[in-house]
Subunit: 502 residues, 2 copies
Amino acid sequence: MAIPVETFFLAPDAQGTLQAQIQQMIAQGILSGRFRKGEKLPSSRKLAGHLGVSRITVTLALTELQANDYLEARDRSGYFVSQNAPEPPAFGAQGPARDTIDWSRALGRRFTGGDTPEKPLNWASYPYPFIYGQTDPSLFDHANWRHCALQALGQKDFQSLTSDYYDQDDPKLIEFIARHTLPRRGILAQSDEILVTMGAQNALWLTAQVLLTQRRTAVIENPCYHALRDILVQSRCHLTPIDVDRDGLPPEALPDHADVIFTTPSHQAPTNATMPLARRKALLAKAAAMDALIVEDDYEFEISFLRAPLPALKSLDSEGRVIYVGSFSKSIFPGLRLGYLVGSKSFIRECRALRASVLRHPPGHIQRTAAYFLSLGHYDSLVRRMGQVFTKRRHTMETALADQGLGVAGRGVFGGSSIWMRAPEDVDITEVEPRLRDVGVLIEPGHPFFYGTNRPRNYYRLAYSSVPAERIAPGIELLARELEKARGTGANRGKSDEKTEK
Amino acid sequence: MAIPVETFFLAPDAQGTLQAQIQQMIAQGILSGRFRKGEKLPSSRKLAGHLGVSRITVTLALTELQANDYLEARDRSGYFVSQNAPEPPAFGAQGPARDTIDWSRALGRRFTGGDTPEKPLNWASYPYPFIYGQTDPSLFDHANWRHCALQALGQKDFQSLTSDYYDQDDPKLIEFIARHTLPRRGILAQSDEILVTMGAQNALWLTAQVLLTQRRTAVIENPCYHALRDILVQSRCHLTPIDVDRDGLPPEALPDHADVIFTTPSHQAPTNATMPLARRKALLAKAAAMDALIVEDDYEFEISFLRAPLPALKSLDSEGRVIYVGSFSKSIFPGLRLGYLVGSKSFIRECRALRASVLRHPPGHIQRTAAYFLSLGHYDSLVRRMGQVFTKRRHTMETALADQGLGVAGRGVFGGSSIWMRAPEDVDITEVEPRLRDVGVLIEPGHPFFYGTNRPRNYYRLAYSSVPAERIAPGIELLARELEKARGTGANRGKSDEKTEK
């Protein structure tokens, strides 16, 4: 690759002769790793013109660099970074040391330190990746997605691709959501009651910003999705965690006052509990009595391969009390970043204004591609195919878990993509997890899902969405073996999580 | 299109016979506009199975609906919504009245009411669209963008398309920015000093959240980009607006104390002023003296077709004091939503954590497509082609403005895509603008760019990025005619903007 001439500037207050400055500039580019071996430099004529110096000055500098083996000349084609040029330091290209700012003072707010665990980026190269929320290449309908993307790139869709929608959404996608996606959940909504978001994460974040302040109280499920808890902690509202049971959030355990209740009735995350109809009604009644809003994250409703899903909690709402969060990212692919919010106009209007301020709008191209993928029926086929494959994996998984005598804490009667597991109390999963990695098994420790200072360390999540059926039994066997070893050491005896909740 | 069976639910507490409930359910779907004429209903067998009722009950309901002309039966292919079915109300599908929430109380914070003006969505159908920041289909390199997008959709890039990057960016895009884009601006940065954002808007928003609180002070240029001012107003920091002159922000006018200075040295938005080198150094020195950070929005640096651009202010920074905001959305297309932030590691780390919380990451597919478009050289060709076309349009524009004797307030010596205009003081542009729309001319009133309660109403912005050269002179003639009429009425005499600044 040729190094563009625009890369070169003479520092206005540099010391030394012009020739020396040019030599230095090029040598530093090589030493810092910006210019790499074999890359072509601009011609001396071009460089001289660009820098406003004489060509002879440039030529002298280049000749000198050649003599020092930074550059090599090739007949008629000019100068290239020499194969024998000095190596940039192995620890990566370094600029001059130049950070003299006291960042501990300069940063007004901090957002690091949340609970969301990191997944190994190379998870797909592990033989037994029981990790959650990644795409299985063997399931994704790559060909049809590509076809829809191509269609959305066509001349006819030029405007939806390139337009500055500012605070609008793609009308085709909104229409599909309103007429097809939501009715399947029993929800009827107008287009100004729907907002397209960058995934469910973005929908939950927008909702928290609009509804919560330091003076408001939010109820969350315990355990719950850690990224939601991070969002609420950042909003600085009062947080009231309520322990879930096998039917999800128990309305009778709610406090007397709350402003917003966050819940996952379809599949509680991470326990997979589904809230029965009677409890849904009781929850609505309780929320109405205290005049609280409910935010329903309709998490994994579409992955209901064991039984048809119940209609959404939102479908029972006759007051505008329920805000509904949906996502396409989970079942299409997480890198898509596409979800939606449904709620009263006044609420959606504020979310839309905030979204415009934060990022304007989700890119038009991905909205239109998703609209085609949905309306051509590829999404439904994908979900059906996933259901078939997950049914088998789920069955294999349950058999393997029973064979190994591992404790299941929550499996979900409708489906889902993971099982919530409990190891014996003397096992600390955070100590077992790295040892499992060493033998090729990825699992997700459960303690980040819990609230408080004394979080149990013997829970974990096992997903079957990214692991082929034939790998399940051997993977579970390895898991059982490591868990058994951990019991022997009694590593967790009397130990509790000392990390302080923010 | 067939209506999916999952759309149908029997309300658990509904009144009446099952047959009546089914009839009602279907009739309501048609009356609310959800089911449209000619759409096919599920078979009676399927519907009965799904609802858990007997097939005869469903058949009786369908027959009744046919008798009432809601449905029509077609031999062997089942029931369809009748062409003679009752029309849904013309004002759009309405759900039951059901918002009983007191939203004035329920909303914790409000984000509506900002200053960003709305553009007509159908701007492209106006003959003289002198509006800013939209893509000219005749300039955009649609074929190559499509080609790059297709490549990024390939099997080889499956991971970059689908992965949950969580808080990571596409390594290919980061590498291109670090090795090619930033060096052209005189900036050297490591990959952990760069964050990909959803456009410059998102970069400015993240920066404001991380750096500002109610106890901090930000300096902004006056006039300035209204969406930036909206972001800062939402952050509730103290705002100190400083009037710009023909060289941009004057360092000598800065207050004795500020925490963050927002500036646009390459092209001041909206006046197009470019800050000379001496002033850049004085600004850096002043910021260092008060220990303030500088946020440099390197706005439109790439649209420098009249002269080569100066290196970025960030290139003069030896302390880590300057945070740099770049964008690809402006020159590729605004719907792309792709920009980047460059700053010290500690700062970028916080922005990355906040971005993860707000939206996780910009979609992998658009990052990879942009990486290809950039690295294959299409971006540079596009910018060069835009420069050639803009040179001509700019020249035509200046001639037309001079011919009509219209007052130019700021034109920018390096290029840009717009001219900042001043009408006589007795003209209120907000009154002229709708009259101009009526004759096919779109302009952008200038008052949203100004700070304070007494905003001048005689400024406006004329962009030449979306109007063909041959339309410029006739459009400017229409503009001059309307401005002249407005003078005659003296509509603005003694009038000032009474909108109160938040």
